[in-house]
Subunit: 400 residues, 2 copies
């Protein structure tokens, strides 16, 4: 078939730069030290507990729990999420929650109900590659906004909001805590200021928060979520992918009426409902007495991995290389010396040093500065993290 048969949305779909990296990495195989994939560590999955829950769900109830379910989600899970959010200081009820197939689907549904192809989406740069894929598809103008060590730059954001006609939809996408890919957390002061911007410019905000629970020690617990303040302009996205396991594809969106009812209808048209078995397993585990300790365990597990990477960077990287110092999440963002081309550096790192990562271009929607790497410390052992960073440092030195 010829391309003129494809829809405008289809023509805007782009393969992500991560796929290219995956193909290179597949050629190396198991000996590769991977800082690429932003996935949780399988060692943290509560396998025995999940197996017991799944077995009980499948053997009991005479199969009545294996039917189609409500589009908004398994009701006890929805209620658990509402309580969890209230405990975080966000005033939403069960009627404000729709469970989604991971928070990726939440990004897609929110875009679908808010964005036409002549609207504007403001993203901090760099940002999550999966959100960009969805935003590209929408056809909206993607407006990159600067980011510094305190999070999104509000002066730059306001200048860009002000330049857009009032009647256009203005949607801002932020990862407030331990951002993907930088590891940066938005400060309390900026969280408060952003609410004013939303009202002043009649804008909406997606607050994506997959990593907020994964803070390294109580002193690093992030400020209250942005959504606490003006829930009618903020759509909060949460997920169990990093708290239990990605396979369950269980995320959620919390938003005010009438947005959440439109999201529910959009989900009904998209897939009727997410897996009920998965949602039941997630509910049984997150409502169990062991869940709080499980999450505490995750925090110290990833804190150890992060420290191993920071120590290795400190020890081995030459002058002229900079990196962020996250206090939670999965990622460190590294700035290469300006003369090193990240694409060829990646190819050499994989083929010769057997270390993978993701280059900055994947996270940046325009042609601004791009000599960056995202390093995920979530999946390797501390020993392999140290070894991998040492190899990268050697490779950088060989290019100085």
């Amino acid at each position: 078939m010829s391309e003129h048969n494809l829809s405008d949305r289809a023509m805007r779909l782009r393969p992500s730069a991560i796929r290219h990296m995956s193909r290179l990495a597949a050629a190396v195989g198991r000996e590769l030290i991977t800082f690429a994939g932003g996935m949780p560590n399988p060692l943290t999955f509560p396998l025995e507990e999940l197996a017991e829950v799944a077995s009980a769900e499948l053997r009991n109830y005479e199969g009545k729990n294996l039917q189609y379910g409500l589009t908004a989600g398994f009701r006890p899970l929805v209620e658990w999420i509402a309580q969890y959010m209230q405990d975080k200081g966000i005033h939403v009820g069960a009627e404000n929650i729709v469970c989604t197939t991971g928070s990726q689907q939440a990004i897609d549904l929110v875009s679908e109900i808010l964005i036409d192809s002549d609207d504007f989406i403001f993203v901090e740069v760099p940002t999550y590659v999966g959100a960009l894929a969805t935003f590209y598809k929408s056809g909206a103008k993607i407006v990159p906004v600067r980011q510094d060590h305190e999070g999104v730059d509000l002066n730059d954001l306001e200048a860009k909001l002000a330049s857009v006609q009032r009647e256009k939809q203005k949607l801002i996408y932020l990862i407030s805590n331990f951002q993907n890919p930088t590891g940066i957390t938005l400060t309390e002061k900026r969280r408060r200021m952003i609410l004013d911007l939303l009202n002043k410019y009649d804008a909406h905000l997606i607050e994506d928060d997959p990593y907020g629970e994964l803070y390294f020690g109580n002193e690093n617990k992030p400020p209250a979520n942005i959504q606490r303040g003006a829930p009618d302009r903020i759509l909060y996205l949460g997920t169990f992918s990093k708290l239990i396991a990605p396979t369950f594809r269980t995320g959620w969106v919390a938003a005010a009426e009438p947005l959440i009812r439109k999201i529910e209808l959009a989900k009904e048209a998209a897939d009727l409902c997410s897996s009920m078995l998965d949602q039941r397993i997630v509910y049984r585990f997150c409502s169990s007495s062991g869940f709080a300790d499980h999450v505490k365990g995750l925090r110290s597990f990833y804190a150890g991995r992060c420290q191993a990477m920071l120590d290795a960077l400190e020890k081995s990287m030459p002058e002229g290389v900079r990196w962020t110092h996250p206090t939670g999440g999965f990622f460190i963002w590294l700035t290469l010396p300006a003369h090193i081309d990240p694409e060829s550096f990646l190819e050499e790192a994989i083929a010769q040093r057997k270390v993978s990562f993701v280059i900055g271009r994947a996270f940046i929607p325009d042609d601004s500065d791009r000599n960056f790497l995202r390093l995920a410390f979530s999946v390797e052992t501390p020993e392999r993290i140290q070894e991998g960073i040492s190899r990268l440092a050697d490779l950088i030195r060989s290019r100085l």
Copy 2:
């Protein structure tokens, strides 16, 4: 927020008529005899086998199988599906398959990559309500096409295809076997003729086939699928929802390049991947030695339910009531005497006779004839089917 903030797609989302019925039915509770929901019977779910598989998947592999997976699906399942389709005479390989969150997501993704808001979608009338919801959202013009006891009326279809400008996308949506809601199967002759129409009018076809395996006796096995002939214009949708259980939300779409690669990208933006645990459970069960016997068991199970409903209709319905005689699937389509208003009939049936069904309006995109009911025989016992039909017959008689 005001409605001007919503996208065009959001404004086109419609609540389905099934929701209204569900609310009425919920007020009656468990004593309701339900012919409404088009879901499989939980008595058919292979619970013990599924529990064993799930437990093994969760206890083994050190959690490596609980990560994010490939967007196209769990590879062994994708390969099993390709072989299954080849066995049905459809020449596709694993590279032509993308697993989806139920076939509802396949409908949504196909619409997304093919349809712009000025395109045309041709549906046989009546048709599946979930497909209509997705098509409404796209903004395309929905063109209803007549249907008779041999399936879609090709003269009507051709006349309507011919009336559309050549450069517009023309997508036809058909359920070829034991159609939802009528139970009608498209004849072999029309399957062959439809291929000519696709080429002549540069059109594409979604062949949705959720019920094709559920034929009642070998003499009722449906003709080969339409996709056998011209795979580059036909997108075939299959699902395990009716063959194993809906909870697993595992369907698939089979299509030629470059469509299938666009669908894969669209799915990546929509939800990254479907549940890997669900796909692994489905794969282990459908590739097991017991699967063929399980499917045979489903055929005789639903054949018995269908016969019970046909017998009851024959025995109790007054003159002037007509219905289809399906040889597979879940549904019978009943035509009320013309003077009976289906909406008030439904309300009375639920409130006074405690029997539910879905009225024809849900399945019909225009204001054509609408004195229809869809009766699902899949979920009740033969005794309750007989009792429910008898009550509906009494209610019709009271209105004659």
